[in-house]
């Protein structure tokens, strides 16, 4: 240890003058602390795509949690006698083959679809970020091993893999579907996370932290993750939409959610019998439209978030 020197004292006059000159030029911007996050939020609030998709998603999430707010009937209460009936007072969307109210089922369907989408996305983001982040941060042999593993999973077609696994499992409910999507969908996130971590790692501020004596944990949590998380958030938002569509696809194919679970995929599957569709197109139309709007809302949201977070536009 060298002899302890005094802490830096106030600078000489020159520094004060410089500071004064700078204060003059900088104070022209009225706000004080603007983080990149608040800048992004500032952009988002002015983006009509964000506002539309945000309101839609908010609405969808609210009815997924409290479907009874807008649908007072029981989705499982059906009157076979009214099978395939068209719209009627109090039943504006008509009845399906079982005589259940299509409106009620479409509203209640949001819960399963969004639950699967959100849970699968959380799983995918978690696995992908951990695998990709570690591969990018440690590099070398870890990177080789993790990246090749990622490639192997990447090579499994998502739908085909899901069909194979789900047809072997006898459990019902949303969890098998969530687990299968999470187990097979993460490689894309892992690749993006790895790239983002490698980019962030090369910045001088990470070197600066190392030069100060910071450990791996501090570098990863304080410097790399906050700067690598944006592309993962963007990708996850877009993937959320596609996972909702994927759940519907799997349910349609008969391996996803099973009745009595109420979901758009299940209803689309039930409505896809050619005869029924010709006689009563409404039973396919409403769940399919709800599905499309939801998927679109999440993809639009992902786009808007990307535009706001993209450092190249900054």
């Amino acid at each position: 240890m060298p002899e302890q020197r005094d802490t830096p004292g106030p600078g000489p006059l020159a520094a004060r003058e410089e500071a004064a000159a700078e204060a003059m030029t900088v104070s022209s911007s009225p706000e004080t602390a603007r983080s990149l996050g608040s800048d992004a939020w500032h952009d988002l609030r002015r983006n009509p795509i964000f506002i539309v998709s945000g309101l839609l998603i908010l609405f969808l999430v609210v009815i997924a949690i409290h479907p009874s707010l807008i649908a007072t009937r029981d989705p499982l209460f059906c009157e076979l006698g009214r099978s395939l009936d068209g719209p009627a007072p109090g039943h504006w969307f008509g009845f399906d083959a079982q005589g259940c109210d299509v409106y009620t089922r479409t509203v209640y369907g949001a819960r399963a679809s969004i639950a699967v989408g959100v849970c699968a996305t959380l799983g995918v983001a978690l696995i992908g970020a951990v695998v990709g982040g570690l591969a990018g941060f440690y590099g070398g042999i870890w990177d080789s091993l993790l990246s090749r593993t990622t490639d192997i999973f990447f090579a499994i077609p998502l739908i085909l893999g899901a069909i194979v696994f789900l047809s072997m499992i006898t459990l019902t409910g949303i969890w098998p579907v969530v687990l299968v999507i999470a187990a097979l969908g993460w490689p894309q996130i892992a690749r993006i996370a790895r790239g983002a971590v490698i980019t962030a790692k090369q910045h001088d501020y990470v070197q600066a932290a190392r030069a100060l004596g910071a450990g791996n944990g501090r570098m990863l949590l304080r410097h790399i993750l906050p700067n690598a998380v944006a592309p993962v958030i963007v990708m996850s938002t877009i993937m959320l939409g596609t996972f909702i569509a994927l759940e519907a696809t799997l349910s349609f194919l008969g391996v996803g959610l099973q009745p009595p679970t109420v979901s758009w995929g299940v209803d689309i599957s039930a409505a896809s019998d050619g005869m029924q569709f010709r006689n009563a197109p409404h039973i396919l139309l409403y769940p399919a439209a709800a599905l499309s709007v939801t998927v679109l809302a999440f993809i639009m949201m992902g786009d808007a978030v990307r535009d706001a977070l993209d450092p190249k536009l900054r």
């Binding site: 802490t7 004060r16 204060a23 900088v26 004080t32 996050g37 501020y205 070197q207 030069a211 100060l212």
Partner: protein
């Protein structure tokens, strides 16, 4: 300055850094090496400024990274007060890091955009809690901002709200936080506008006097290096080819590369146009993966002879200069060293 304190604070001995070039997907095999730093030795004395100049690819930035222990050398030693810091790890390395700090070239990538200025300058205290008691840290950060000529009220702002010159001041404040003895500066002003460069250079000189710092000033701008350095080393393809005081190097260079480098610097004086000798080097710097045999500079040198291809000239006072008194007598790695005055544009 340098004469009064001849105590080396940092000694570099036979430092070598080769970056392996590998090929292969999972199992990588080495197919060659970039010889970024190829056996260099020098000392840094207490309170002095040692400038290292050279063109891109000469290995000067790698030297900075090695001195900061951000890269592990292939071989060689870096002695800080007699202790080889390349062998240190853990607590001992962390302790040394308090005394050797760095200022980076690019003020835009060297500050974390997600942290406030206060957090950036205060981070050294979080990593080294013994340096300042917790309650004092905020006040210290304000003091540091004041020292580098920034308004202490900016403590809660984010880096992107500042201009390049201001960011560089923030970087300098972070480097100063732990009261280091040595600051390694890798091109500290090259990313800044001319009118702001002078401000930052003045600041760095003032801080050196105020805190008794030793600087390693790595740069490609010869006039900036001359202004601030007590001694200067010239690097070419991973080697130091000439080293001496600023006067020895700029006014009495004996190595042909130094002479060419100095003569190529454009002089901001139109009256001298066409009236000063210019050595225009032909060709480009050879690849550091496969440097020429013998003297690395021989492929572009107008004096090169057979001897240069076989025998590598050592960095020492050249033959014929041992007896000479005066500034021409300084280490220069050339078999055919000749003094040449008045080539300097810087």
């Amino acid at each position: 300055m340098a004469e009064t304190a001849r105590e080396p604070i940092l000694e570099v001995r036979h430092l070598v850094k080769h970056f392996p070039l590998t090929r292969g997907v999972l199992f990588k095999r080495q197919v060659g090496a970039v010889k970024a730093v190829d056996d260099i030795s020098f000392e840094l004395f207490r309170g002095e400024t040692l400038g290292i100049v050279g063109e891109s690819g000469c290995g000067k930035s790698t030297v900075a990274k090695l001195l900061m222990n951000l890269e592990q050398p292939t071989s060689g030693e870096i002695l800080y007060k007699g202790e080889d810091i390349t062998k240190l790890s853990g607590r001992a390395l962390k302790a040394v890091r308090r005394n050797i700090q760095m200022v980076f070239q690019d003020p835009y990538t060297s500050l974390n955009p997600r942290m406030t200025v206060g957090d950036i300058i205060g981070e050294p205290f979080e990593i080294h809690p013994e340096a300042a008691p917790k309650g004092d840290r905020r006040a210290k950060v304000r003091e540091l901002l004041d020292v580098v000529g920034l308004n202490p009220e900016y403590i809660n702002r984010y880096p992107h709200q500042f201009s390049g010159g201001q960011r560089q001041r923030i970087g300098i404040a972070r480097g100063l936080a732990l009261n280091p003895e040595i600051i390694i500066c890798d091109e500290p002003v090259s990313a800044l506008d001319v009118s702001v460069q002078a401000q930052v250079i003045n600041l760095m000189e003032r801080l050196q006097d105020e805190f008794g710092l030793s600087y390693m000033m790595i740069a490609h701008d010869l006039s900036v290096v001359r202004h601030i350095s007590d001694r200067v080393g010239v690097m070419y393809l991973g080697k130091i080819v000439e080293i001496g005081t600023d006067r020895e190097i700029y006014e009495h260079p004996t190595h042909p590369y130094t002479q060419a480098l100095l003569s190529a610097v454009p002089v901001p004086d139109p009256e001298l146009r066409g009236r000063r000798e210019r050595i225009i080097l032909h060709g480009d710097v050879p690849s550091p993966t496969n440097p020429p045999s013998g003297c690395h500079f021989r492929t572009r040198c107008w004096k090169a002879r057979e001897r240069c291809a076989v025998e590598e000239p050592p960095l020492a006072v050249p033959e014929g200069f041992e007896e000479v008194e005066g500034p021409a007598r300084h280490p220069s790695a050339c078999h055919f060293a000749e003094e040449k005055t008045r080539v300097s544009g810087a």
